[in-house]
């Protein structure tokens, strides 16, 4: 590394206008004498210009500026009426569930199977395999069946005990599935470079469950037993569909 007075971070700050007048002047004087730093600054400026041309600001949509809150007396608006109506509905619904409805004792999954697994192989053919052997980078797709509205989670666990969560993606509690037969889940899954046995768990439940809590329970079961075959969830509020697959590398 040559002995330069300013490093790349300094020059980036200079290009983005992060320095005050005095510091900018000092760097400007240095640039007049240093070819190396000048070339970095020029390439950064060119990159900045190219970026602005390629991805102009208008591509982004920001929420419209909200109107200022009016001062003065309270005015009853339609939105207040809607809020009031929504609150009443919420209170009545909560009351119904707490006072009238009996707790569920089992999960009624109606249908021939809870979760079917399809795969798109390297040549693009979609098939359902009799042997559960799949290849890295193949794309798999689950189709669910259930007779009533159910909360659902899809997890996978490999032989090291590492759990991946696909549904709910980025949410805290399980996804709600509408009733139906053989409905594809919203996303497919591309198998990564992991090779070996892998367990996909479709977890149906009547009520929405905290995803992290369910994941921790499954991990603790694995820690105790150290086997994919014995993964289960205690209690009767879950209905679990398991798919054991073996992932191999290379083309089929």
């Amino acid at each position: 590394m040559e002995n330069h007075k300013f490093d790349t971070i300094d020059l980036m700050t200079y290009v983005t206008g992060g320095y005050g007048a005095h510091d900018s002047e000092v760097i400007g004087r240095h640039l007049a004498t240093c070819d190396h730093c000048r070339s970095i600054v020029e390439s950064l400026k060119a990159e900045q210009t190219h970026f602005i041309q390629k991805f102009p600001f208008k591509q982004f949509s920001f929420p419209a500026k909200t109107a200022p809150v009016p001062h003065g007396a309270f005015r009853f608006r339609m939105r207040h009426a809607y809020s009031l109506a929504a609150s009443i509905v919420c209170i009545l619904t909560t009351g119904y569930f707490f006072l009238i409805r009996q707790p569920a004792h089992y999960v009624g999954i109606k249908g021939e199977e809870g979760l079917a697994l399809y795969v798109q192989n390297a040549s693009g053919v979609v098939e359902q395999r009799t042997e559960p052997v799949y290849r890295c980078s193949e794309r798999i797709q689950f189709l669910y069946s259930c007779g009533a509205r159910h909360a659902f989670m899809l997890l996978s666990m490999d032989t090291t005990g590492a759990v991946s969560r696909y549904y709910p993606a980025g949410e805290d509690s399980s996804t709600v599935l509408e009733p139906g037969q053989r409905i594809p889940l919203a996303h497919s899954i591309i198998l990564d470079s992991y090779t070996g046995k892998e367990l996909f768990l479709g977890i149906f439940s009547e009520k929405r469950q905290c995803a992290d809590s369910v994941q921790r329970r499954i991990e603790s079961v694995f820690k105790r037993t150290n086997s994919l075959d014995s993964i289960t969830l205690p209690g009767n509020e879950f209905f679990i569909v398991k798919h054991y697959i073996t992932v191999k590398k290379g083309p089929a």
Partner: protein
């Protein structure tokens, strides 16, 4: 913050966010998504970053963390579209491969080691620059890099096993 000020910030800093994200995600589409997320974070936290000279290190750190999170949570691209709708996409596959290699390289290392490796070998910063961004002292950076180098034979072996690449 009004749209004009946001536009000015975007034109000042957008390219830095984008280049950082693209280097890690290897996909222009995903880098654009990441750019939007990081830029919104920048707008939210702009007033808390009082010193404008800290903006560039903040951008590097935030964009890197965001992309690492994307790599971690999209382990198998669970957000990939359903099979019936689109056929395979070669560019997507290349990005997938590059990300997989990054994940294998960084697997099992602490955040500090990952930062030292990322800024040294991907962003090509020197130790003084890394110190500005991460706050790690040069001695710590050297120690973290040496830990990473010690783990390289095992990583190479893992890549050869998992991916058929030395």
């Amino acid at each position: 913050m009004d749209a004009a000020a946001a536009k000015q910030l975007y034109e000042q800093y957008g390219f830095l966010i984008f280049r950082t994200c693209k280097r890690l995600l290897h996909s222009e589409e995903d880098a654009q998504d990441a750019l939007q997320a990081v830029f919104l974070k920048l707008l939210e936290e702009y007033h808390s970053i009082r010193n404008p000279q800290r903006m560039v290190p903040w951008i590097f750190k935030t964009a890197k963390n965001h992309c690492f999170n994307m790599l971690r949570f999209n382990k198998k691209f669970s957000g990939a579209p359903p099979i019936d709708e689109i056929p395979g996409d070669d560019r997507r596959a290349e990005a997938f491969e590059a990300r997989e290699i990054l994940k294998i390289i960084f697997k099992g290392h602490s955040k500090k080691v990952q930062e030292a490796v990322y800024y040294t070998y991907i962003e090509h910063f020197d130790q003084r620059e890394i110190q500005k961004i991460t706050g790690q002292s040069p001695a710590t950076i050297r120690r973290n890099l040496s830990r990473f180098k010690k783990s390289l034979p095992a990583t190479q072996q893992r890549m050869a096993l998992d991916y058929g690449k030395p």
